[in-house]
Symmetry: C2
Subunit: 122 residues, 2 copies
DNA sequence: ACTAGACCTGAAGCGTACTCAAGGTTTTAA
DNA sequence: TTAAAACCTTGAGTACGCTTCAGGTCTAGT
């Protein structure tokens, strides 16, 4: 069973244009029907899921391309794939920490304003 | 005591160009010396800290501009300021949740590859 | 007094990741 | 069978947030 690009886009929660773009950027290689229309296999969908996951955690396209290139080769480069993912993991953790820290600042500011509302300073 | 733009940029951990840009975008209004050079007060630095915090948590410039506009007015709009911050807080929380979820996916993938390394499937 | 370095303005340029347009072909449902 | 809807490609356009450039003025250290 394969899906059309429209259905694949809905499945992946991204736009058809983004799927085209990812293919142009070398992140994807999709089989075609005899007429040239793309057919997405369940393996394709799974891979798109990984791409989406990496993208949503802030990995730049060029790094995703590098990762995709490794995956498209044989399995001898699994250490390099792990390396990319581990580096990315650390970056995501750092980003999470920064977000949590800054979130506290925002919450402090909210509390401050709410106190001012209850007991105006003028 | 006031700081030059160079020192202020170092304090805030952002570039002089970004400070110029924020001023152009209406996020900042900085006093000038008689010759036209900017002088940053400690209040300015504090405000830049808030801007940086909002920016690093993903608030778009246009929303920051709206918030800045409210802060520049009188204190009668504190409820609107709280509204903006609370909305932003929810967005940051959603982003955090999404990141954490996707991070799990990345970690799962790392584990998967490490298992494959130990016990190749071919 | 001199000069290197910092600052000023206005405008143009850049990197990233999409997103849309145009003009043509294929599929699908009535 | 036919017409709307979906798909194709190439190439241009957009949104966002800076960042750099050019050409001039100001300041600070010696």
């Amino acid at each position: 069973m394969t899906l059309s690009i429209g259905d694949a886009a809905v499945q992946a929660g991204i736009s058809i244009h983004t799927l085209h773009y990812y293919e142009r950027e070398g992140l994807l290689q999709i089989e075609r029907s005899s007429s040239g229309h793309r057919r997405y296999s369940s393996g394709d969908l799974e891979w798109i899921g990984i791409l989406t996951c990496l993208r949503e955690t802030g990995m730049p396209i060029r790094t995703m391309r590098e990762f995709a290139r490794l995956v498209q080769q044989d399995s001898s480069n699994i250490p390099q794939r792990i390396e990319i993912l581990k580096t990315h993991r650390l970056e995501v953790l750092a980003h999470l920490k920064s977000l949590q820290h800054n979130l506290e600042h925002v919450e402090y500011k909210i509390d401050y304003y709410e106190k001012v509302l209850v007991q105006p300073m003028d």
